[in-house]
């Protein structure tokens, strides 16, 4: 009996191993384990045996069934794997072919730098304020301690709108972001800490001037604010903006009608690979105008200059962008030339953050 079973096992396992495909394998399965199968018949025969015979033959027959079942499963897996591999081998694509994709867009350097400035100054507690570009004479000049006959007016190259019916010069294009100082002081109560970036206009056009450009204004009004705070703020801001520790400032006494004392601020530069970069002190270039807000200005905004004082500063956003990122032609900022924008623009997701560094 056992010899028969061993023989049967050998035959079936050989048939399983040589089954050429899944169909052939299934035929072997039916032949062995199907309803009419050889092993099925063997199992059925157990019922007719005496208990002793069953005890003797049972394990052999069950062993046979298990061995054959396992062998079929193993062979089936192997055949299926081979079939899948064969199919995949026929499904190749040339993965080197180019794909269509929308080319990335860009953020203009002026917007990027404004975002950088907002991020830096937010850390110092400054909010971002704004005001109209079509300004009135009072906010742009008079309230800033520049009366009608002031020589500084002539230096502003102002764009004017026609006079009113009664001959008053009511409106003009703001020549600086400083009127936002006035609007902020009049709207809110001190203490004030704001920056105000935006478009400004001067009737001037040559290689280094465009009739429209961008400025950013800073204003702090509080108690006990001094020129020393101004100096620290500008140093801190420029160090953060240029992400360099070797920023050196030079304050020069100057004159702005709306500040007293007034100072122009030069920043030291040096040369790297033949290009001028901010940092070090091989030479100086002017970057900011600043000063302590003039008592007349504070008074014009309805505040008591004996109680409140502070500082203001202003600089060109386009200029800061040029100094940091190396553009050399201001006029190109306003051309909308996509070649220039691709080169000098910023990726959409390059959002300036303090943790990631504001520069990109």
């Amino acid at each position: 009996m056992t010899t028969d079973i061993d023989q049967l096992r050998d035959d079936l396992l050989a048939a399983i191993d040589t089954a050429a495909g899944l169909d052939a394998l299934d035929a072997v399965r039916v032949h062995a384990l199907g309803k009419q199968g050889i092993i099925t018949a063997q199992l059925k025969s157990l019922g007719k045996m005496s208990p002793e015979e069953r005890q003797e033959n049972g394990p052999h027959i069950h062993g046979l069934r298990e061995d054959v079942t396992n062998a079929i499963a193993t062979r089936k897996q192997a055949l299926e794997d081979a079939q899948l591999e064969a199919r995949l081998a026929s499904e190749t694509m040339d993965m080197t072919l180019p794909v269509d994709a929308v080319a990335p867009g860009s953020i203009h350097p002026v917007s990027q730098v404004m975002d950088e400035l907002a991020e830096i100054f937010a850390d110092l507690g400054f909010a971002v304020a704004s005001g109209p570009e079509i300004e009135d004479d009072w906010h742009n000049f008079t309230a800033l301690n520049i009366p009608e006959t002031h020589p500084a007016r002539a230096m502003h190259d102002t764009f004017y709108f026609p006079k009113d019916a009664d001959g008053k010069q009511a409106h003009l294009l703001r020549t600086h972001t400083s009127p936002v100082q006035i609007r902020t002081m009049m709207q809110g109560k001190p203490p004030v800490r704001i920056i105000a970036p935006g478009r400004v206009y001067r009737s001037d056009s040559d290689a280094t001037h465009t009739p429209m450009f961008h400025q950013i204004e800073g204003l702090v009004i509080d108690k006990g604010i001094t020129l020393a705070h101004l100096k620290w703020t500008l140093e801190t801001f420029l160090k953060a903006f240029f992400e360099r520790d070797d920023i050196v400032l030079r304050l020069r006494p100057s004159y702005f009608p709306f500040t007293e004392p007034s100072a122009e601020v030069d920043v030291g530069y040096s040369y790297e690979k033949g290009r001028r970069v901010v940092g070090g002190s091989e030479g100086w270039m002017e970057v900011l105008g600043s000063g302590m807000v003039h008592p007349n200005v504070i008074r014009a905004c309805g505040l008591d200059p004996d109680e409140w004082q502070g500082f203001a500063f202003g600089t060109g956003v386009d200029r800061l962008a040029m100094l940091k990122y190396g553009m050399d032609d201001l006029r190109a900022f306003f051309d909308g030339d996509m070649r220039w924008l691709r080169h000098y623009g910023f990726a959409a997701l390059d959002v300036p953050t303090l943790s990631g560094g504001v520069g990109a």
């Binding site: 009608e148 500084a152 100096k231 020069r252 004159y255 004392p261 302590m292 306003f334």
Partner: protein, 798 residues
């Protein structure tokens, strides 16, 4: 303001060299723009005498000169008509670099004759514009033959150019600059009497006769008018020291009488005027101009005057715009023998207004409108008269003093502690007093008040004194003190509008758009297409930058056109800026798309141009990014005249509030900027987007539906002109509870669909709640959908 080091040293006794002085000027707020040594580039050129001049054997217009330049006579070929034996000029030897024409001299053969250098003209040496012939130095140069020309001409004196801020009239004269430098410790200011000792002095000329006939009618515009006449003058060339000074700062010497006024103005910041008395009809009066009056000014232009202006006139006509510019008709000439010297004080505001109105930027105006020293009329006149009599001879009259200048000194509070509380630096009171004293301020013994010198009209309060002290002490000494900051992490500061702009800008860039910045002003005709502009500049820089834009499209279209012109295949540009409409400025995001939406490729075949649906997709995506309630928006018409009437629409929140306009632009708009390809565009009106109210950080509770959604497809026949959106809305509205989405997936016209109809197929998504839908429920929903669609004239396709 220009001056030379030598000139400065007339007023300032100092050992400081040019570098130290330049550095100090900038440090105290007189910013040095340039220091130039004009002699440096002329170092090789020498004073030389023409010994003899012979015609060139082979050229009519050339001569062969023998020149004595301090060594052996040299043979020089010269083409100047004025070259002749005996004249003294300037010689450039071989090797010298001639700055005008910019070349280096060499020994050369000129038409066969060897030339060992060149006799030079004024223009060749960049000393002026004259080019008719070579420089003639005159016999006085006889003793200087062979001497470097720059030494002879005093060109070794460095010229310093400083930028004077509008508050510092006192530094619009060399003496004021010297006073500031002395205060900063750079030397000692010499007494004025010593400075003018050799030019006649500063004491009024003692005479017994009457002064000239002058008076003031307009005492507001001209509070003081001092004058003295000198008769029997000879208007000659001014002395070389004066000519040299004026030439060094770029002022052309004219004649002694004219040069004296220019010199005193630049030396002392004191404008003067000199009239030729022979050309005056009687006395002079400072009065308001009469309407319709005119004057021919010294710049040879005629100005129409009005009664807001102060003029100096005689009985017959106006002879000068007071404090701004003299008149041509009474100007001095070589023939002048009797002169009247005017030293007046004009009201700064009046001068400013008149100057602005007439648009005359004269040196006198610059000084008077900033406010000249009202206490310097007596001395100013004395110095001028003494210069005239010293240089031109003649006899001075008595002095007439009409009116009184406002000489009273202003008193301002002096608060020594303010240097610390405002300036942030500790400077002891004694040091502060010393600085202010050197600048001419007079401080009382109690340190509470300061009298301001008459030449410092700009100092009006204690903050100004702080600036003076810090400026002279050294602003670089101010320490750096951290701005106090609240404890903890910085608070957010950005407003909703600012965050909206940031999101939109970056969302647009993410979709492949490049951010442009275009001019806020455009041409009138471009604006007209967009309803015109109510803001037209009075003084535009050009016709195409004349009015404030009512739309960002013209600027972006111009940029798109330029990009296409330089072979950009696909233009996607956007700008986030303001439109200027009515009395307000509206933040707007505008996108333009031109050229290929997708390039030709191996997958899709030929390229695809942008269409109105690209614009719609961009508009919706950006509004979504902006947080607008996109699913509630209505697609409506009336995009405006700038748009293709059949391929544009508006997106509205409610029937009135237009959040965006999108579609294809009208060909007429494109033609205006030379664009001949279709352009898709989007305008998003940021101020129309409702601000999302903050609900705090907690989101409403939510659990995903347990049961699976089911979908059903419906195909309807509708009139061909029915907006697809109408059907979709009808379908979606059929059962607001069960239907969570209705998506149009097919639009078909053609075989099987009648003329005038179209087939629209919609996939409806149904979400069961607690229990799965029964067949009856599904049928009921289907019936409702069909019924709702029928109201739009739709029939279910069989």
């Amino acid at each position: 303001m220009k001056f030379t080091l030598g000139w400065l040293k007339e007023h300032l006794d100092t050992d400081a060299d040019i570098d130290a002085i330049g550095e100090a000027l900038t440090r105290i707020g007189l910013e040095v723009e340039r220091i130039e040594n004009p002699g440096e580039k002329l170092a090789d050129f020498r004073v030389a005498k023409v010994l003899n001049a012979q015609p060139h054997p082979d050229a009519d217009k050339l001569q062969v000169l023998s020149v004595d330049a301090g060594g052996d006579p040299l043979q020089v070929v010269c083409g100047a008509p004025n070259a002749r034996a005996g004249m003294i000029g300037v010689f450039g030897p071989p090797g010298a670099y001639v700055p005008g024409p910019a070349f280096e001299l060499k020994i050369a053969q000129i038409r066969g004759v060897t030339s060992h250098g060149m006799m030079c003209s004024v223009r060749e040496l960049e000393l002026g514009d004259a080019h008719e012939g070579i420089i003639e130095l005159g016999e006085a140069a006889e003793g200087a033959i062979g001497v470097p020309y720059s030494d002879y001409a005093g060109l070794t004196d460095p010229v310093i150019d400083v930028a004077i801020t509008p508050n510092r009239q006192d530094c619009m004269g060399v003496r004021g600059i010297a006073r500031d430098l002395a205060a900063a410790g750079l030397g000692t200011l010499k007494p004025l009497t010593e400075v003018y000792a050799k030019a006649g002095g500063t004491e009024p000329v003692e005479t017994t006769g009457d002064g000239p006939d002058i008076r003031i009618e307009d005492s507001e515009g001209c509070p003081a008018f001092y004058a003295q006449s000198v008769s029997g003058v000879g208007n000659c060339e001014s002395p070389s020291w004066m000519k040299r000074r004026l030439a060094a700062i770029g002022q052309r010497p004219i004649s002694a009488l004219v040069d004296i006024t220019n010199f005193v103005m630049n030396d002392l910041g004191r404008p003067l005027h000199v009239y030729d008395m022979a050309k005056l009809d009687g006395g002079l009066v400072a009065r308001k101009a009469k309407p319709g009056e005119q004057v021919l000014a010294l710049n040879e232009k005629t100005y129409a005057l009005d009664d807001s202006m102060t003029v100096i006139a005689d009985g017959a006509q106006v002879h000068g715009i007071g404090g701004i510019m003299g008149g041509e008709d009474s100007g001095v000439s070589d023939m002048t023998s009797d002169v009247l010297i005017e030293c007046a004080y004009f009201d700064p505001d009046r001068i400013a207004r008149t100057g602005q109105r007439l648009n005359i930027p004269s040196d006198a105006r610059q000084r008077f409108e900033r406010g000249v020293d009202p206490a310097f009329l007596e001395e100013g006149l004395a110095i001028a008269t003494r210069l005239v009599t010293t240089l031109c001879g003649g006899t001075a009259s008595g002095i007439t003093r009409a009116g009184e200048p406002p000489v009273e000194k202003r008193s301002v509070a002096f608060r020594p502690d303010m240097v610390r509380t405002l300036g942030g630096i500790d400077i002891d009171t004694e040091t502060q007093r010393a600085i202010l004293d050197r600048l001419g301020f007079e401080i009382d013994a109690e340190n509470t008040k300061s009298l301001v010198p008459t030449w410092r009209r700009d100092v009006t309060g204690p903050a100004d004194l702080v600036e003076e002290v810090i400026r002279i002490h050294g602003i670089d000494q101010v320490p750096s003190t951290p701005l106090p900051r609240p404890a903890g992490v910085a608070q957010p500061t950005a407003t909703w509008e600012q965050k909206l702009e940031r999101k939109l800008r970056r969302a647009a860039a993410t979709r492949g758009f490049h951010e442009a910045i275009t001019w806020s002003f455009i041409g009138e005709s471009e604006a007209a297409i967009f309803g015109g502009s109510n803001w037209t500049l009075a003084n535009p820089i050009s016709e195409d930058m004349k009015v404030m834009r009512p739309s960002l499209l013209p600027g972006l279209l111009t940029a798109a056109q330029r990009n296409l012109a330089h072979s950009e295949d696909s233009v996607r540009l956007f700008e986030l800026g303001r439109r200027y409409i009515g009395d307000s400025e509206h933040p707007t995001l505008t996108l333009v798309m031109a050229g290929d939406a997708a390039p030709r490729s191996w997958q899709s075949g030929k390229s695809r141009g942008f269409d109105g649906y690209d614009a719609k997709a961009a508009a919706l995506a950006l509004l979504e990014a902006a947080g607008a309630p996109v699913s509630n928006l209505l697609v409506m018409g009336e995009a405006g005249d700038a748009w293709h009437p059949g391929r544009s629409a508006t997106l509205r929140l409610g029937p009135k509030n237009v959040l965006a306009t999108f579609g294809m632009l009208h060909p007429r708009v494109l033609k205006a900027v030379d664009l001949d390809v279709p352009v898709a565009a989007v305008e998003i009106f940021l101020d129309a987007i409702p601000e999302k109210r903050s609900q705090g950080f907690l989101r409403p509770a939510y659990a995903p539906a347990q049961l699976q959604a089911v979908t059903r497809d419906f195909a309807f026949l509708v009139d061909a002109d029915l907006p697809g959106d109408a059907l979709i809305r009808a379908v979606r509205g059929a059962d607001k509870k069960a239907i969570v989405d209705a998506r149009l997936f097919d639009v078909f016209t053609g075989p099987g669909v009648d003329e005038g109809k179209k087939s629209l197929a919609v996939e409806v998504t149904l979400q069961p709640g607690e229990k799965s839908f029964t067949d009856e429920e599904l049928k009921a929903i289907g019936d409702k959908i069909v019924a709702s669609a029928e109201k739009q004239g739709a029939t279910l396709r069989g």
